[in-house]
Symmetry: C2
Subunit: 275 residues, 2 copies
């Protein structure tokens, strides 16, 4: 390991996103083992790595909106993140990031950072609601081994899927490209905006519930909006796909906290597996 875990880092996710920097512009860290699906680092984890560097470089805690374009799969090992402040405004700092392994660029990112906790107040309108989930004990706990895929990430996160949405794991697709469920860190780490970047890509693709050709669904682009501060407790998540056409699919996500407040929205464009 190039970045040794220090004794002061209490949680797995903080160790896995720890970075070193001399100048708050260029950062070094590593893609840690165990945040992958069949050996490819989870896209949300990669975004959190870049997002952690951009947070430090911007001096603001929250990526109010952040977009990643995925260029190559991430494998365990050392990485660097180079950041560049585009504009430092009063409320928002717009910043880019480039995540690289020693031999190639893995991801290019742009985000506008701010402090969501200080932006509150004003008019509120919510035309939506958290998923109507059964209690966790009536949901399907997502195991690291589901069918032929090894989801090492599921050792780090605890995910409970809505029973109707989980039967694809037994080969029974619901026909509805939606997956809802509960999520928390296995080690109890609190949910902040950095964690939400991981969360929005941590569920199985909802298209596993329709008859797409089997295979990996590589993300081309992922955008996350941080919309609130999460209260303690498990998150309620909803992911759904409406449009699979011309070789691409969209996946939308909503993440709600335990008190029923929307804390993140996401949308990604992914490529359909080629049959």
């Amino acid at each position: 390991m190039t970045t040794s875990p220090t004794p002061t880092i209490r949680y797995e996710f903080d160790r896995a996103t720890a970075l070193e920097s001399d100048d708050d512009v260029h950062f070094a860290g590593e893609i840690e083992d165990g945040w992958d699906i069949n050996g490819n680092a989870n896209g949300g984890y990669l975004l959190a790595l870049a997002g952690a560097a951009m947070r430090q470089a911007s001096g603001r805690p929250d990526p109010l909106t952040i977009t990643a374009h995925y260029l190559a799969p991430g494998k365990t090992g050392p990485i660097t993140v180079s950041t560049d402040v585009v504009k430092a405004g009063r409320q928002l700092v717009t910043i880019t990031g480039s995540l690289r392994s020693p031999d190639r660029e893995l991801m290019r990112v742009i985000g506008s950072y701010g402090d969501i906790a200080t932006m509150g107040g004003g008019y509120t309108h919510v035309a939506g609601a958290p998923p109507d989930l059964p209690p966790r004990e009536q949901c399907v706990f997502r195991d690291r081994n589901t069918g032929t895929v090894t989801v090492a990430l599921m050792d780090r996160l605890r995910v409970w899927l809505r029973p109707e949405d989980a039967r694809f794991q037994l080969g029974e697709k619901s026909g509805r490209a939606t997956i809802e469920g509960w999520l928390e860190f296995a080690d109890g780490r609190p949910i902040d905006s950095l964690a939400l970047l991981l969360v929005v890509d941590a569920f199985p693709p909802p298209v596993f519930n329709i008859d797409i050709p089997p295979g990996w669904v590589p993300t081309v682009e992922l955008t996350v909006h941080i919309r609130g501060v999460a209260a303690p407790g498990p998150l309620m998540c909803r992911f759904h796909t409406e449009f699979v056409q011309n070789g691409f699919l969209q996946e939308d996500g909503e993440v709600w906290d335990s008190e029923g407040t929307l804390v993140a929205q996401s949308r990604q464009l992914a490529m359909l597996p080629r049959s």
Copy 2:
């Protein structure tokens, strides 16, 4: 005007997005008068200007996914767009763009370009439908002068709003943050993916149908996915906002062609007017 319209440019939108370049990397053009709302250039028009440069620099016709962060309002006058190819892959070219006026950067953009027409085939799943619009003659034609706002853009585009969604123009808000309607270019220009970048920001904000404080709703970030090739004929558009909280709002858009195919999806994060 720094870029003279040439006699071969037939349509207004092509003249307004015409660029000159010696190297297909750096481009010069101008923000043309008449694509604004109260003097600020429409955000979709600015994205189309950058998108036109990125199209030429990438050598691919369609921004399959493109994201803009807005840094400053655009005023009529000369601009430059600098582009940088991040990765040129077999199917996708990922590229960044920076749109500048003489004194400041107005917008930073990242996109992945490809050729949507060649990516067809394969599995299709559509869990959605175009808006159920009355015929155009039963809709409300959007005039350039609506209340206190002058929407010069409405000389370039013809927009017909669904009657229920249009009464906010008379001070009667529907209470539902949705606006649907028809759209076409006033001069009959065909709809390609460049035009769709304009279209997704060309409707009034759907929050005008709820009780937000009055004022400008500046876009922080806009992401557009190009999902299909538009058939000839007027577009059917749906824009809606679900979440206004902590000083920000999201706006989602769907653009469907005259044959009922989804051709673009959009999402933007905007700032709530401060009351």
